[in-house]
Symmetry: C3
Subunit: 327 residues, 3 copies
């Protein structure tokens, strides 16, 4: 494949790049970080939407590689005043200030590609808001790449896997789409099960078709339990439980509710070698009425790897910066 | 005492630690800062509440010691969306990113201790909101430690003192409690006078009992004047004057109002060697109707030491970082 | 002239300083930046108002000169709580923390001068809000100085120029005033044309008188076209088009609307050697009903220099820091 200049979409990446570039560089940073790789370079974080983990994963990585970072704090203030300039103008300004790369969390889908179209330096898409237009029109490629690396690191392989994804609600659609698309592109003999609340099923039709076209065995079910006993990966995406209370109501009358959260029953079904993942934050708006998808009480189960996954997000952030800028 | 791992509560500290560790390291930084003591280390500022002085006191100290710092800017944005994760999850993420210490200004009392309970690195409590539950359930230990160092630096001693504290309103309760508890623990032959508006007296009963149990001569009065003429320290805590207008009204009808702000009359009563302190910001909501507790007009009086106190907060921040991480 | 200690007002600067100091240092930074000039120094950005370009222009410059910067992020939060302290107290605190300089974007005119009056280190005025009191009571000197450097760099001279300024609306008044006052002070044989919407004319009377007193040939017109064919510089200031819809309505009935935005007609009139400038952001609130003052479609015209101007703002920020602190 041609050399990577920007990180914008999961379709940019193939198995050869994962094997020859992503995983080896990630492995290196799991050991020692080359402390001067980005010396004299400064990265700009253009975050039009708030972020805790993605922003810090990169900011910390920049510094561990010897570089510096800056960010626009007042984006929201500008928006409130209607004073925002276009992302193209912002990028043109940032290019003039000689930042070495621009990390973009856009507030509308396609923002990172618009930034890249005018930028003279690499642009990294740090996640776009969920978007119900065509599949792939919004992307979160750095999350998908780091989740892939987490799986490889935890299981020692990325082929022959059964991955069960619990997509939460529409708010996490972009994470689910990007992850499933990437796994579909690079993992061989993949089986992918989406455990989806019935009312949300239509959101995943287009993804199912994409995966089928990639030769992936993909099915949509309405409960985790039937898929748990031979799962290698059980991936919970963020669910905004404030919304899900509503989604639950769309069940047909009398229908037994499916299980879409981690319970002791599921832990008992799940193989000992499986890994349980979550991109965090977890349990948004969980309450006594609406259950948490990854309860605090199970945090200590050795299969729960969500904090190793967060750490890997940081390590892969470092790997991507090194690949783009460190050579 | 056992070696200090976190800075969470004033009850952690005794006179031996103050004499053998805090004051000598502070004294050293009043001279030259060891410019590489934190080289390669990055501190995380987890500020769930805004702060001007405390945040900068530490951030600047980190850099003067050769380290770096990062912070979560978007805490408020997350809160607004109901997207906040628990402080425990935030700390687990930050640990994975290998920050060397976490500075916590929690939005609820006990937040720093919750953070420390899961953290693999030192946690420093950067102040908790005033809390009317049991004494000591909210703490501001770094303020109390630096105020102690300010007194020692200004007066050359911490024993045999008469300290007069004007607690303002309930908003500053945590500062008053932490300072009084620390002084009660480490200063010998301490006399402590609280000059409290009558309506707020019940807020200080529990503190009075704590100090009595430490052998401190403590009294509560309703005017600064009777205590001023033999005060060594006159300490004004922050008063939110917008609230105090209300507190004033609880006075009994016909009762003469006490004086709880700095006036020329009090400056005339106060010994020339006394020091006047204030943790800043001062005079919040002061107006023609509600007087300022430490008026701008008296800023130049040589006894007013509030800006040296702010500087000492920074120097002690450096000392605490050095003690926890610099060895 | 006496040596520059603070950067507060354009009236501080004369032609000798521009020729002997500003332009040579700027020219040097257009080549290589002295990477250790600010080593060990930290600058504080006290931004009471949001800023994209000005803040970054300086922050990036600090780092390229080997220094560090810090900022107050929570100013707005404090304001909301009514907890703000005076700018004088903030500066006294910052002085105690030994920042090497303070960059002030005040939320009221005169804030930077208040800061400088108590500061023990240099204060740089990073722009004040437009203010309709006496001319010069609000200032944006760093914008004016960098715009001057942009003109000199683009045209190779600052004398004998015809500068046409399109002031937008009142929101950009401070930029127009500071630029015109500076050009009036330092450029020889200057002709200055203000192309002003009729309803806004009274805002520029006092400026016209100032320039006349400097010997500048200044006129106010109500259309760009008559001034375009011999313009050397066509300078659009920010227009908040949300407001301008209102301003337009003040035209006399039946009067032909003037042209106050860049059009193909104006590009055809304008000399090939002219430069088109804009301090950015441009086209705030532009819509199908209200036209953009510098449309995206003309961005590629070689005379449009607004992004080189943004870059020069950064280079001049570096030059000013170097002049104040680097020696």
């Amino acid at each position: 494949m041609e050399s990577v200049r920007h990180i914008l979409r999961v379709e940019q990446f193939d198995r050869a790049w994962v094997d020859d570039t992503l995983l080896p560089v990630t492995q290196r940073l799991l050991g020692e970080w080359p402390a001067q790789a980005l010396a004299g370079k400064e990265i700009f974080n253009l975050f039009q939407q708030p972020s805790f983990l993605t922003r810090l994963a990169f900011s910390r990585a920049v510094r561990r590689l010897g570089g510096q970072h800056e960010q626009a704090d007042f984006e929201n203030a500008f928006t409130a005043e209607g004073r925002r300039q276009t992302i193209e103008d912002e990028v043109r300004i940032l290019n003039g200030l000689e930042y070495a790369a621009i990390l973009v969390r856009a507030d509308t889908a396609g923002g990172a590609e618009r930034a890249a179209a005018v930028s003279t330096v690499p642009v990294i898409n740090a996640g776009e808001p969920a978007h119900r237009a065509a599949l792939g029109s919004a992307q979160h490629p750095t999350q998908a790449l780091s989740d892939l690396a987490t799986i490889e690191h935890a299981l020692g392989r990325i082929d022959g896997l059964h991955v069960v994804i619990v997509p939460g609600d529409g708010a996490s659609l972009v994470i689910v789409q990007s992850l499933a698309m990437l796994l579909g592109r690079v993992c061989r003999e993949l089986r992918l099960t989406l455990a989806v609340r019935p009312a949300l099923t239509p959101l995943f039709n287009e993804l199912g078709e994409y995966l089928a076209a990639q030769g992936v065995e993909c099915r949509i079910v309405h409960d985790i339990r039937p898929a748990a006993s031979d799962a290698d990966v059980l991936y919970f995406a963020q669910a905004n439980n404030l919304h899900l209370g509503v989604a639950e109501r769309y069940r047909a009358p009398g229908e037994e509710p499916g299980v879409f959260v981690l319970t002791q029953e599921i832990l008992d079904l799940l193989p000992q070698a499986a890994v349980i993942m979550h991109p965090l934050p977890r349990n948004i708006g969980a309450s006594s009425a609406v259950p948490a998808e990854l309860p605090e009480a199970f945090t200590g189960d050795p299969r729960v790897r969500c904090f190793e996954q967060a750490r890997m997000k940081h390590v892969v952030a470092g790997a991507l910066l090194y690949i783009l800028l460190g050579g």
